[in-house]
């Protein structure tokens, strides 16, 4: 199989597979679960087969022309392969976990359909080399995200789902305006064709609206904590694997790979994202709902990813790319641990939990490990990504921002250990054991991966470094 076929399959397998899940369910529930896992596993494996290609560097562009310059373009380069690999892999783990998590709920067909569609659209987005197709997959993700957030169908939940959809849609259409403005300048939506041009300042503003709304950055972030009403698997998917990573990925694709940011924005964006990161960390320290805390934590960490990309030097960019991987693993782990806990104690309020380390030791350790990784403590993977982002920020001559980011890291430590202490330490309030094997297995895998990603960081780093050099053409 050549790279083009693999990429097309990576997109089509989950998309087509998602619509086939209701058919699989006609056979049996088990068949559906197996089908879903199979599809997601294939999706996870396919990008991995492209890694040798990525390690060679260079990019492959596939084009199919359509009307009005809306050509269907695929970019196969280290950046897209890396991103596809990370998100499909985490997505696959989450699907496995789902089997245990939602096996008693209603609307499972829709659930698996949307989750697989979600992953498929992500793959499409990652490889898209056309702004309009980027937007298209962007919105498909928004649709499935909307359905999934409202999965439990409670009136309040559906409202939150609507809020999430509306805010992200608002951001996205504003971004679309930005795309159209760029089209006005370059007369094309093809990213590869507009590479190297200077992007108009207003277009940057408009596009940032979209990126920030999707990646939940201040001031368009509040839908994300609210989206915590979704099943935990979904929140994990939103936070760790797919949704919030879209914004940062698009940022990298647009403002690093394609355009050069105008000077003013180069100065402003790091400040905005650091403030966002700080505010979210503050909110996380105040909230009592475990999922909201983790959601704010995501917002906070996303700020780092943006920061690394926006300072735009080798250390920052590679740090941010690595961050996508590390945060994906660790945050998925945290959410899925939270899922196990919530499943067992039937509350989300951390003040009503306690002492669970005794009844669910694996979950507790996994949570601890993932917390360390998110905070950025070695030997766990999160350390390297955060460290490099900070280094990049300092090197870009913004030590104050680096200091603020580090202060945020201290806050992160504060609130995550607040959660850990309240939930797992202290007096045991709900003696509930760890239940489903597949769930515990997945969190254990994620914790081990968070550790392994730190110990063997040189391997992902190789790919990250190549992606960094490939995309930052102006550094060469």
């Amino acid at each position: 199989m050549n790279a083009e076929t693999i990429v097309l399959l990576t997109i089509l397998v989950p998309v087509v597979g998602s619509f086939a899940t209701p058919l699989a369910s006609l056979l049996s529930r088990r068949a559906r679960s197996v089908w879903a896992i199979l599809v997601s596993a294939v999706t996870a494996v396919l990008p991995l087969t492209l890694i040798p290609l990525a390690l060679q560097g260079g990019e492959l562009v596939v084009r199919k022309s359509l009307v009005l310059g809306l050509d269907f373009v695929l970019i196969i380069d280290p950046l897209s392969i890396f991103m596809a690999g990370v998100s499909s892999f985490v997505g696959c783990l989450i699907v496995v976990y789902s089997v245990g998590y939602i096996h008693k709920e209603e609307n499972q067909n829709e659930y698996y359909l949307m989750v697989l569609l979600f992953i498929g659209a992500m793959m499409g987005l990652v490889f898209s080399g056309n702004l309009i197709f980027l937007y298209l997959f962007w919105e498909i993700i928004a649709i499935s995200c909307w359905r999934l957030i409202g999965f439990y169908r409670e009136p309040a939940h559906v409202r939150k789902a609507d809020k999430a959809f509306l805010v992200t849609f608002f951001g996205a259409v504003v971004m679309l305006l930005g795309f159209i403005q760029i089209y006005g300048v370059t007369n094309t939506f093809d990213i590869t064709a507009m590479r190297g041009t200077l992007v108009p300042g207003t277009a940057v503003l408009l596009i940032l609206f979209g990126l920030f709304s999707k990646s939940a950055t201040i001031p368009l972030h509040t839908w994300l904590p609210d989206a915590g009403v979704a099943p935990t698997t979904v929140t994990a998917l939103l936070h760790a694997a797919v949704l919030v990573k879209i914004g940062v990925y698009a940022f990298a694709r647009l403002f690093l790979y394609t355009f050069r940011l105008p000077e003013g924005w180069q100065q402003a964006i790091p400040i905005i994202v650091v403030v966002s990161s700080l505010v979210a960390a503050g909110a996380a320290a105040v909230e009592n709902d475990i999922k909201r805390i983790l959601a704010y934590s995501t917002i906070s960490q996303i700020g780092y990813i943006f920061l690394g990309f926006s300072v735009a030097n080798a250390a920052g960019i590679s740090g941010s790319l690595l961050f996508i991987l590390m945060h994906g693993l660790a945050k998925a782990g945290l959410f899925l641990c939270a899922g196990i806990v919530i499943h067992a104690v039937h509350t989300k309020d951390i003040r009503e939990m306690g002492g669970l380390v005794k009844t669910m030791p694996v979950t507790a350790i996994a949570f601890l490990v993932c917390s360390f990784s998110v905070i950025g403590i070695p030997p766990f993977g999160g350390f390297f990504s955060k460290f490099l982002v900070i280094m990049g920020t300092v090197q870009a001559g913004r030590p104050w921002l680096a200091a603020a980011a580090l202060f945020t890291a201290v806050l992160t430590m504060y609130y995550l250990f607040r959660v850990f202490s309240l939930v797992f330490l202290g007096e045991l309030k709900h003696p509930a054991p760890e239940k489903t094997k597949s769930m515990v297995f997945v969190v254990a895998v994620l914790a081990v991966l968070s550790l392994a990603a730190g110990l063997f960081v040189a391997y992902p780093m190789k790919l990250v470094n190549i992606a960094t050099t490939e995309m930052s053409w102006w550094l060469r």
Binding site: E106, D162, F169
Partner: protein
């Protein structure tokens, strides 16, 4: 044989009441649907062959004597014929089950086909008087159809509709008279030619304003819209679908576009007025839709808002803008038809149109819910559905022609649109099942089939937008854009 588009439905409409005496159900169902299916196939397959070499003109004659009716088929007409056939067929299929309890099915189909014939005729007409004539044919049938339920609301709505429509047609007639008086002709081409030579600014201005009001009222542009939210919801669902999906576009937007672009020529002034009216309709109606509790009223306001998009797109006057407007017209016809049909399914299943009383119907009516979702997202302009592409083209056209403010309005309105459709989804389908509807069942076969048909079209066109644009939209837009060039170039106020 262009005449078939008008004659076939008329003939079948004539036969139907007679047949109805023999068979109350099966034969009328079969006949009406067969007629529309034929029209669809004819439009989709034969139509493109007919106009392959350019527009075709057909002079009607009576026993060898030419009469003053000439029909012309070009890209624009063909697009409209296709839309009419598609939505008409879907509505007709839907009627098989839906109209069961209304009774008098044969009469219903007869009226329905007369309305189709009127619209087809209007689309094919080549002179101002025939436009007026066919418009009235379609309108009269639609008055009857709105009142078909014979309930108090239906009658009142039909009356209001009738009264305001009459005002509109009166102004159109005056305007036609003025034009005739000035040019001595009613034929599009002849009038256009004569007006170029005439250079009578003020009179044409007044005539344009009258036309604008008349067609604007038919198209339900704000502030001429007030009849629509009463009329459309009151009609039986398939009729609402045709009214909202087709009639306002054919007798309003199509006629307006044809006359302004191909006959009068789109002056900058007219363009500004059209765009402003479009934008105004878009925004205000979207807000109005937001406040509705009645599902069909919400849809009706949404129609006004979307017609605003269409007019805005066409009003730009650039080829891209026109293409976008027409594409949106086509997409909206499908999607809004779909939405009205699903609302009919819901109304039949639950007996209510009040959104507050519904809830969680997706559990009981999954297909209806899914198709409704497709329609809603399509109109809101969410990719990859068809509505997205047409809105995209309109917005690109707006930005390219230097109207960023309108572009921003259009974009923000689509957020509003999504907002009220999400409201509808949340209250009707998405959410906890209202215990009251625990016994509700999915809609009968033909109703579901009709909605699935339209939903698949929405999705299909969204995915194959590129070939749709090149095959259907581009020729239509070319006709209009050519007209613009031909007329604008030499004539103005």
């Amino acid at each position: 044989m262009i005449i078939l588009f008008v004659a076939l439905p008329l003939v079948v409409a004539g036969i139907l009441p007679l047949v109805g005496k023999v068979s109350r159900r099966v034969v009328p169902d079969l006949l009406a649907n067969a007629a529309l299916l034929f029209l669809l196939v004819y439009a989709a397959i034969a139509g493109r062959h007919l106009i392959a070499g350019g527009p075709v003109l057909q002079q009607l004659s009576w026993f060898g004597e030419p009469v003053a009716i000439r029909l012309a088929l070009d890209g624009f007409s063909l697009l409209m014929l296709l839309a009419i056939a598609l939505v008409g067929l879907a509505a007709c299929l839907f009627s098989i089950d839906y109209m069961e309890h209304y009774g008098a099915k044969a009469n219903y189909y007869a009226l329905f086909l007369v309305m189709i014939a009127g619209m087809n005729g209007l689309v094919l007409a080549t002179d101002l008087f025939n436009v007026y004539l066919f418009m009235e044919v379609a309108a009269v049938a639609s008055y009857a159809l709105v009142a078909f339920g014979l309930g108090r609301d239906e009658l009142e709505a039909a009356f209001k509709y009738l009264m305001l429509s009459v005002v509109a047609t009166a102004f159109i007639l005056i305007s036609v008279a003025v034009i005739f008086g000035m040019t001595g002709s009613l034929d599009f081409a002849a009038v256009a030619k004569a007006l170029q030579e005439l250079n009578a600014g003020a009179a044409v201005g007044v005539a344009s304003a009258f036309f604008l009001m008349g067609f604007g009222l038919k198209a339900a542009l704000i502030p001429f819209h007030a009849w629509l939210p009463d009329a459309h919801p009151s009609a039986p669902a398939p009729i609402s679908a045709v009214l909202s999906g087709l009639l306002i576009k054919v007798s309003g937007v199509y006629a307006m576009t044809r006359i302004f672009l191909n006959v009068f020529g789109l002056t900058p002034a007219l363009s500004t007025v059209l765009m402003s009216l479009g934008a105004l309709s878009m925004v205000v109606a979207a807000f109005l839709a937001l406040g509705q509790k009645d599902m069909k009223r919400m849809l009706a306001y949404s129609s006004i808002s979307q017609v605003g998009y269409v007019v805005l797109g066409i009003g730009i006057g650039t080829p891209l803008g026109i293409a976008g407007g027409l594409f949106h017209l086509f997409n909206h016809a499908l999607a809004k038809g779909l939405l009205f049909l699903t609302s009919g399914s819901v109304q039949q299943a639950t007996g209510t149109r009040n959104l507050d009383e519904m809830g969680g119907l997706a559990k009981r009516m999954p297909i209806t819910a899914a198709t409704n979702l497709v329609g809603a997202l399509s109109i809101a302009g969410v990719p990859p559905l068809n509505g997205f592409w047409s809105k995209l083209i309109i917005i690109i056209a707006l930005v390219q022609s230097g109207h960023p403010v309108f572009a921003v309005i259009a974009v923000l309105t689509s957020v509003l649109t999504l907002w009220y459709y999400l409201l509808m989804q949340r209250k009707a389908f998405f959410g906890k099942l209202n215990e009251k509807w625990a016994a509700v069942k999915e809609a009968p076969f033909w109703m579901t089939a009709a909605t699935v048909f339209l939903a698949l079209l929405c999705v299909g066109i969204g995915i194959l937008f590129s070939s749709t644009v090149t095959t259907w939209i581009q020729p239509a837009a070319d006709v209009l854009a050519d007209g613009v060039h031909a007329v604008i170039g030499s004539w103005g106020f």
